[in-house]
């Protein structure tokens, strides 16, 4: 049995005017320690799926099992990182990264020093007492990563976490995140619309089609790329051909829609 088991997910949003099916018959599995990406055009229900997996939304149909058990947010099994950092502007960096521990009442000397150590490890020292607005965008997103990791989640959700950063910062953060996740052996699901990013970071890429969101195709990244850092992958000779392959699939999806 897989680490994460998503089975037969359907989800429909209702409004007065219409009923919109966001996801249709999604089934997938993720192994422990694996890094997978969900790639797709806008409107393919990527964020909805993440919200369902992290049990923020109850799906219309289907089940999500983590280690054969239903997921509950109160046990801090899931870490969720959003498009923007969403650090609380009135809290210091230290208060921000300890937030998850505080909410679940797990805060003690050990977890606290763990979280602060993580901050150091990610290359931020001496910022504990500063406010988020004193940091740059890249630094803030790193703080957000520390906040997510501080509660030691089993599964990490990354919802386009690099999309609001400038290109250089984005490449650097990709390497950093991938290195940190590998070190801790974390399982992660990345949602992105950036083909390059999906190839560079993942072991597997799930390509979604839109309206309604469906799992269209799964790409397995070759073993030699999976060993490399995201930055090295982007420069590998295999990279352009995989990029082309996924690009063509995406194109065919769009034509199918038109």
């Amino acid at each position: 049995m897989s680490f994460l088991h998503v089975q037969g997910i359907h989800h429909t949003y209702f409004s007065k005017a219409s009923a919109t099916t966001a996801l249709s018959d999604i089934s997938l599995t993720v192994e422990e320690g694996e890094f997978v990406s969900i790639l797709g055009p806008s409107g393919c229900g990527k964020t909805t799926l993440l919200s369902i997996i992290s049990s923020l939304i109850k799906p219309s149909e289907g089940t999500v099992l983590l280690e054969n058990k239903p997921i509950s947010t109160s046990k801090n099994e899931i870490g969720y990182m959003l498009q923007q950092d969403y650090l609380f502007p009135w809290k210091t960096i230290e208060e921000n990264i300890l937030l998850g521990l505080k909410l679940s009442k797990q805060i003690n000397d050990k977890t606290k020093s763990n979280a602060l150590g993580l901050l150091k490890q990610i290359g931020l020292t001496g910022v504990e007492k500063q406010l988020p607005k004193q940091l740059s965008g890249g630094m803030r997103q790193r703080v957000a990563l520390v906040r997510t990791l501080a509660t030691e989640p089993k599964l990490l959700m990354l919802d386009e976490p690099f999309s609001s950063l400038d290109y250089q910062t984005k490449l650097k953060l990709e390497d950093l995140v991938s290195q940190i996740l590998a070190e801790f052996g974390k399982t992660a699901i990345l949602v992105t619309h950036d083909i390059g990013e999906a190839i560079a970071m993942s072991d597997r890429v799930f390509l979604f089609s839109s309206h309604p969101g469906r799992l269209h195709k799964t790409f397995h990244m070759p073993a030699e790329l999976r060993r490399l850092t995201p930055f090295e992958t982007r420069n590998h000779e295999l990279f352009p051909s995989i990029f082309q392959m996924i690009w063509k699939e995406l194109e065919s999806l769009e034509q199918g829609n038109e």
Binding site: S54, T73, L82, Q84, Y86, F88, G100, L103
Partner: protein, 268 residues
């Protein structure tokens, strides 16, 4: 290098100096307006350009001020009005914020109460004065209620709107950590709305003065509002102006205190 540093330092000093000069000019003009206003008032009253019986004059007001200070009646009336205003202000803001929190807590209650809030907000609250006085007996309770009721509904509406406008992604962050609704309120909704709450405080300072003074008009037994209505009835407009100036000074002081609180609460 050091030469360049000196140059920057010098420019910075010049900049600071220019700021200081500008501030001095502003203060000077403010003082001129103040003096001009009171001296022209005094002169035109003495020369009978304006009716001294109606418009009084600064010296008469000053003498009456010293007089009332000595016989203690000003302090008594002032402390009555101040107590009522401060209590009405705190009560109005507190109850309004609590009501807003209840509306946020339960969308159902908020939907049910929506038309009633609109009606209560549109209604002129001072018109409730006579009913309050009869219901709560003339005196402190009814006047404090006037000071509070005038600001409760508008506080509720403004603060509730700001609660609803907090970026839902902050709540999402908290929910992924398994936060309860109370924790969401305490960690995100409340602190994110502090700036709005403070600005309603500023509005409420003015509103509760209105409520209390009108209340004292109606009850007419003590307080600055009573001094105004009494001066009006015996045609002693010096007394009316004295009360007005005292109100102006203390309303300003209250406003400044709220600004001080703002600086303390919002660390930015």
């Amino acid at each position: 290098m050091s030469k360049e540093m000196n140059k920057v330092d010098l420019l910075h000093k010049n900049y600071l100096q220019s700021l200081k000069v500008e501030k001095r000019w502003v203060r000077l003009y403010q003082a001129i307006i103040f003096l001009l206003f009171f001296s022209s008032w005094e002169v035109s009253s003495q020369k009978q350009w304006i009716d001294p019986l109606i418009f009084s004059s600064p010296t008469k007001i000053w003498n009456l001020f010293l007089n009332k200070l000595q016989d203690g009646s000003l302090i008594t009336n002032l402390s009555v009005t101040l107590t009522e205003t401060v209590l009405g202000f705190i009560l109005g803001t507190l109850l309004g914020t609590i009501l807003a929190a209840i509306l946020w807590w339960s969308p159902m209650i908020s939907k049910i109460l929506d038309p009633y809030l609109v009606i209560l907000n549109a209604m002129p609250k001072v018109a409730l004065g006579p009913i309050l006085i009869v219901a709560l007996s003339p005196g402190y309770p009814s006047i404090i209620a006037m000071g509070a009721i005038i600001s409760i509904i508008i506080t509720t509406i403004v603060v509730y709107t700001s609660f609803k406008e907090v970026d839902p992604n902050y709540l999402k962050v908290l929910q992924t950590f398994g936060a309860t609704r109370f924790q969401c309120f305490k960690e995100a909704i409340m602190p994110a709305s502090f700036p709005t709450i403070i600005s309603t405080l500023k509005v409420n300072v003015g509103l509760s003065w209105v409520g209390v003074i009108v209340g004292e008009f109606l009850v007419s037994s003590k307080g600055l509002g009573y001094m105004i209505i009494y001066g009006f009835q015996v045609f002693n407009f010096t007394l009316v102006f004295l009360s007005l100036l005292v109100i102006a000074v203390f309303a300003t002081i209250m406003y400044q205190l709220v600004e001080l609180l703002e600086k303390k609460l919002i660390k930015e």
